[in-house]
Amino acid sequence: MISFTQKRTLDRRTFLRGVGAAVALPTLDAMASALPRPSASVSPVRMAFVYIPNGVIIEDWTPAADGTDFALPHILEPLGPSRDSINILTGLSHHNAQALGDGGGDHARASAVFLTGVHPVKTDGANIRAGISVDQIAAQHLGHHTRFASLELTCEPGKLAGNCDSGYSCAYSNSISWRSETTPNPPEGNPRAVFERLFGSASENLDPATRAKREKYRGSILDFVLEDTKKLQNTLGPTDRRKLDEYLYAVRMIERRIESNEKFAASEGVELEVPESAPKDYAEYARLMFDLQALAFQTDQTRIATFMMAMEGSNRAYREVGVDGGHHGISHHQGDEAKIADIRKINRYHMEQFAYFIERLKKTEDGDGSLLDHSLVVYGSGISDGNRHNHNNLPVILAGGACGNVKSGRHIKYEDETPMANLYLNMLEHAGVPTQALGDSTGKLNYLSAV
């Protein structure tokens, strides 16, 4: 059980950085559900996947030496304090992000393949199809342990008009999580909305009787729409019925959440401060999103998260670190030293935020160790070198110990073209979801295991 004081400190620290209006939240179902945690000796494995777009300056990412005795290159330097908790994996590749006869669209493919290992169908929308992603395989098996099966976040909502990447629907560039091979899970970019979803909002400050009644009505409404949906299915053709399945699934997920709410009693008086909207400053924004993930893990709201630090092909200008050009534009640096320097700055800036997340997980107590000890966190891109658009030798970091299952502090060189999906088989196994195959996987990776 988390003690009251522990809870207070962690929460206040998290949200004090936020700007804007503060909202007092006296009662939190969400916190309540966190209380009856599994006993310390069986802390569950948490999984997070962090995506960066447009590749990296791979020369400044890859350590010269492999094994345990390596120097952190410029981009990875921010990980210094957590060096012993991470592995740098090189040589992992996503063959299915290549054109394979489909022509341009490396950005859309990079994000669509990243967690699925499946070559996406080139379409502007008629028949969107990739594969189920690793986080969602885990969510399907582990989701019932927590209020939320998984969490999908982004620091950059998708493009608002026009095309995202030659001939590919924007759905491919805006999401890395895929619930099924035809349904991407769009990420949420508004930290306030994420917070309210996880921990309730001020308007939910209701007396128990009113709350109970509302839950009852909600339950009846869900029964009603399920009945409605059943009737509707009979009148639809196969394509529309498949569309309606999304609706059915969503309703069932909510039903389950209401049930899981009922399992836990309400807790008393926790005050949190929440920023009104996404912070302008990128670091502040990214760290807030990382905080939310850490908090969701810590309170066992969910055990699985995906986070896009920006959408694939993002053209954000990182003026916070003096980069005025758009990220995608300058990633095609064509050997221009100034542009290479700018990309390096962006790569490092992203890494600084990730390092913050890792340190935070490390500092958070969880059962018999830290949250990081019980997590597996992937950080990487579906493109290796943004200038060349290649999808082999991807930049990948694996952080966390998976409850003593993964040995850290190493640079592991795999043979080039080793499927990235192989890594996901290891991760799923450590999370208790042994899986035979995912995308183009050929079998689990060697050398990761601590035993």
Partner: protein
């Protein structure tokens, strides 16, 4: 379908069958023929083998084969001539390359004029024959979830909701450039949670507004249109209150069963010691999260055999029209017309459309259709460098967007020619935008209609919103602007860059040279040249506008060179001549606009079988002086808008 195609491959037989069916007055003609895609005409196959293939063997295959795929194009490895000939987009491109002399490259062997002429004539006749053989089809439209704009507008029109609940919903994904595509609009658990919360908020808002002490009189209420008189009348009153709302929310007459299921909530509330009004509130919540409300449902006809396509029913048509023109539900007048079967009558249909375009709700077309067609929705995320463009602040950003919206709206409301989009002698400015443009005499923050010098302004190409979203944060991009014109004005998007774009050799070009000189390098490189010869000149024509759309005559120390020459030899200098060059081929633009609008209105991408529909729309719009209303009317009247493809159960 597949089966039919085989049987009907023989042309004389097909014609026979067609004639027979026509005589029988049967509407199945269109479907019996199937798409013309792989259905090559025998004469074409012969000519392909005897003329085109030997020609390509001599002049094309050495680069465009499966291994080299120069420019991403492989002309050689088709399994059969039929498959090759079926790729119409490819031949269109080949035709253009040959006709404009861009291929074969200069240093390669060149065909004689006579050879070239023969091949071009064949491609043209094949295209013509293929087009003629195409029959329109309704196409597959996936059930459409209301997108954010549609949700906001619908609850506004349904219940008088003054806030915009969907602003909190996650962004809608888009396909084919629009967020109205049924197959792309997904519904996640997170969104469903938001629907539930929004429904509670909306229903409670209605409850408070209409039952509070200062509530409006009964006649001006959206929901509580009868006061219930004690418990005895509750059931009938509930029916009276709910039935009209549900009819509007579901955009059709609800079934008795549906009504009973909703009325049940009133009883449930009473069982929980809540009031009648609170019961109505819960029923409204349920209605607002029903799939019948959240999706635009069109029923699939039950099929046994025969032609599965059908005309959409009157209510479905009303919804198609209202979401197309208003991004919202049909109003009472439109629902009534649907109920009385009047939308089948061309005259009534035309009058309804005219009425709807005059209604202020048609601003949805400016905001949502044009916002995506012209891409100015991206203004929200445009990010010009504040050091280089210090005057670009929030009010100016909003003014830029507003100019384009007001300009678009003027064309809708005044039923002007759609050619005005390309060139007009007026626009809408407030003081800060006029100042940005260097135009005198506009004061205050309110917008006014201003006559402009066509040599500098007038038409969407000259509007700061469009010029900004097609620029990089620090500079203009003739390439982005050229691609934008090809996509959005000419519907001739360039193919994506081949996977391994060779780097511009920056050593060859001085980085301080003007952008134009750096881009010339593109065109000295063969594999870039074929596309950039089309792209770059269009962008050069807009070089007098900087990255936030202000007028300029120099770029740094370099004078602006605003001239361009298109691959077909037409050349122009500056934006005025660019506009007239574009207007030399009015139909290209009208076709592009019609394509975009059709995609937006149908909620699906276009297919080769839509070509005849577009031909017809373009012809009719031209015949009607290019009036905006004619374009809208022709789209609504078109086969895919009026019909729905039936889907067999086993597919």
């Amino acid at each position: 379908m597949q089966h039919h195609q085989h049987i009907l491959r023989n042309k004389p037989f097909r014609l026979c069958l067609t004639a027979l069916l026509l005589v029988a007055g049967c509407e199945t003609v269109k479907d019996a023929e199937g798409p013309a895609g792989g259905d090559a005409i025998p004469e074409s196959v012969t000519a392909y083998n005897e003329l085109l293939q030997p020609f390509m063997n001599q002049y094309c295959y050495s680069c465009h084969n499966v291994d080299d795929m120069k420019g991403g194009v492989d002309l050689e490895s088709f399994e059969t001539p039929e498959i090759a000939l079926g790729n119409m987009a490819l031949w269109e491109r080949v035709e253009e390359m040959l006709r404009t002399g861009q291929m074969p490259p200069e240093r390669r062997p060149q065909p004689s004029a006579e050879e070239l002429e023969k091949v071009l004539a064949f491609i043209a006749s094949h295209q013509e024959a293929t087009r003629k053989a195409i029959k329109s089809e309704p196409g597959q439209i996936t059930m459409r979830r209301l997108n954010r704009a549609e949700y906001n507008n619908t609850v506004r029109d349904l219940l008088g909701v003054a806030f915009t609940p969907a602003d909190d919903f996650p962004p809608d994904d888009s396909g084919y450039g629009f967020d109205t595509i049924g197959s792309v609009l997904t519904l996640s658990p997170m969104l469903m949670e938001k629907y539930l919360t929004a429904a509670e908020r909306i229903a409670h808002d209605v409850y408070t507004r209409e039952t509070g002490t200062e509530s409006k009189e009964v006649s001006r209420r959206y929901v509580f249109t009868c006061e219930h008189e004690g418990k005895a009348h509750m059931a009938s009153c509930a029916q009276r209150v709910l039935a009209p709302v549900v009819r509007r929310a579901y955009r059709r007459t609800p079934t008795r069963e549906e009504m009973n299921a909703l009325l049940h909530f009133v009883q449930l509330a009473r069982d929980n010691e809540d009031t009648f009004e609170q019961g109505i509130e819960v029923a409204l919540q349920a209605m607002l999260v029903s799939p019948q409300f959240l999706y635009r449902v069109e029923e699939n006809p039950k099929l046994r055999f025969g032609n599965p396509d059908r005309r959409v029913n009157d209510f479905e048509l009303a919804s198609r029209i209202s979401y197309f023109l208003w991004s919202s539900m049909p109003d009472d007048a439109l629902l009534r017309a649907a109920e009385q079967g009047q939308l089948q009558n061309p005259r009534t249909l035309r009058l309804q459309i005219a009425r709807m375009l005059r209604d202020e709700k048609s601003i949805a077309m400016a905001e949502h259709f044009a916002g995506q067609w012209l891409e100015f929705r991206n203004m929200a995320v445009a990010d010009p460098d504040p050091k280089l463009f210090p005057t670009f602040d929030k009010p100016l950003r909003e003014a830029m967007e507003k100019e384009t919206i007001l300009f678009y709206e003027s064309i809708v409301r005044e039923d002007r020619s759609v050619l005005d989009f390309i060139d007009a002698d007026y626009t809408y400015l407030n003081a800060s935008l006029a100042n940005h443009y260097g135009i005198d005499g506009v004061t205050g923050e309110n917008f006014q209609r201003v006559t402009v010098d066509r040599a500098q302004r007038g038409g969407v190409l000259t509007q700061a919103s469009i010029l900004t979203v097609t620029s990089y944060p620090t500079r203009t991009s003739p390439v982005l602007r050229g691609v934008w014109i090809l996509h959005n004005i000419l519907a001739a998007p360039p193919p994506p860059p081949p996977p391994d774009v060779p780097a511009l050799e920056s050593a060859k070009v001085d980085q301080s040279a003007p952008m134009r000189a750096r881009l010339e390098e593109h065109r000295s490189n063969e594999s870039c040249a074929s596309c950039h010869a089309r792209i770059d000149p269009l962008g050069f024509g807009l070089e007098n506008f900087d990255a936030v759309g202000a007028w300029r005559t120099t770029d740094g120390d370099h004078p602006i060179d605003n001239s361009g020459t298109l691959p077909d030899g037409r050349s122009f200098t500056g934006v005025a001549e660019l506009k007239s060059t574009l207007l030399e081929r009015k139909d290209e633009f009208v076709r592009c606009l019609a394509e975009k609008m059709l995609v937006y209105g149908l909620g699906r991408g276009l297919e080769p079988f839509d070509e005849p529909v577009l031909d017809e729309i373009v012809a009719q719009v031209a015949r009607n002086d290019y009036r905006y209303s004619a374009l809208v009317y022709e789209i609504v009247r078109s086969l895919p808008f009026q019909k729905r493809r039936g889907e067999p159960e086993k597919s």
